[in-house]
């Protein structure tokens, strides 16, 4: 293996470690092992590993696959993380609600006092209704007697 090929292999391994970082261990280890196996097979393939071309070949295979590596990473990172986060949040909320409920139950509660004894007394007869008031007869100077004063009207202010 030439130094260039060794360097290219190190770069591929480094990149694989980077994009599989913090993934679930079965997924991460499988991808790393698969890339390791591929690099080894390439290195020991008598048809391919000759001259300076293998170094470029490894680098090109790495560079062309980066978008797919990233989308694979995104697909694998979001799938297990999301349910775990939802479960953790739900559990935390439930725990907080339960804690409030238990705290509320533990508090001494004062019951409302019963009403005092009530005495029932016969009510006096209702007073007679007052006579109807006389109609308002206002005499204007020089005018007629008005039956009733007209109610005030609200006049809209422009």
């Amino acid at each position: 293996m030439t130094p260039g090929q060794r360097l290219a292999t190190v770069i591929v391994r480094g990149w694989t470690r980077t994009y599989t970082w913090r993934l679930p261990s079965p997924v991460r280890d499988a991808r790393r092992a698969e890339i390791d196996s591929d690099l080894w097979e390439f290195e020991h393939d008598p048809e391919r590993a000759r001259g300076a071309a293998p170094t470029l070949h490894i680098v090109a295979r790495l560079a062309l696959g980066i978008p797919d590596d990233l989308s694979w990473r995104a697909a694998n990172a979001s799938a297990p993380a999301r349910p775990a986060r939802v479960i953790a949040l739900t559990a935390a909320t439930a725990l907080i609600v339960a804690a409030f409920w238990v705290y509320d139950l533990a508090q001494p509660q004062s019951l409302p006092l019963p009403p005092s004894r009530m005495a029932f007394v016969a009510a006096p007869p209702p007073p007679p209704p007052p006579p109807p008031p006389p109609p308002d007869q206002t005499r204007h100077p020089g005018g007629h007697a008005l039956q009733e004063r007209a109610p005030a009207r609200a006049v809209p202010v422009p």
């Binding site: 070949h57 790495l62 797919d68």
Partner: protein
């Protein structure tokens, strides 16, 4: 561009076809590098399929149930002093897809042959 769920891209179809060809030749299982070599031979390309592209396609086919994989017995790589291989195999679910793809390939090659014959044979 987002692809439809369940739809196969040309690389995935090529993997299924190559796996079927390997099976016909007596190799039921294949590993990633072997598939990369096979794909470049079929397409007559010098460059092998990129790592990310190849392994993502294999993972997707496995998720769709068209391939299944297993790690080889650890004694074998230990004896041969090499990393372990992940071996893939076509499932029965892939047979229908392979059949359709083979028919499509045959139809295309027939059409191409006919056109070539028309051009080469003077009227």
């Amino acid at each position: 561009m987002r692809r439809k769920p369940g739809a196969l891209v040309p690389l995935e179809i090529a993997i299924c076809l190559s796996a079927a060809d390997l099976r016909r030749d007596g190799a039921d299982e294949f590993h990633g590098y072997e598939m990369a070599k096979r794909l470049s031979d079929v397409a007559n390309r010098r460059l092998l399929t990129a790592y990310g592209t190849l392994y993502r396609a294999l993972a997707r086919l496995e998720k769709m149930g068209l391939l299944e994989s297993r790690w080889e017995d650890p004694e074998i790589p230990a004896r041969e002093n090499r990393p372990g291989r992940r071996l893939y195999m076509l499932t029965a679910a892939a047979d229908a897809i392979v059949l359709t793809a083979q028919e499509a390939r045959k139809a295309v090659s027939t059409k191409v042959h006919r056109r070539l014959r028309r051009r080469t044979v003077p009227a």
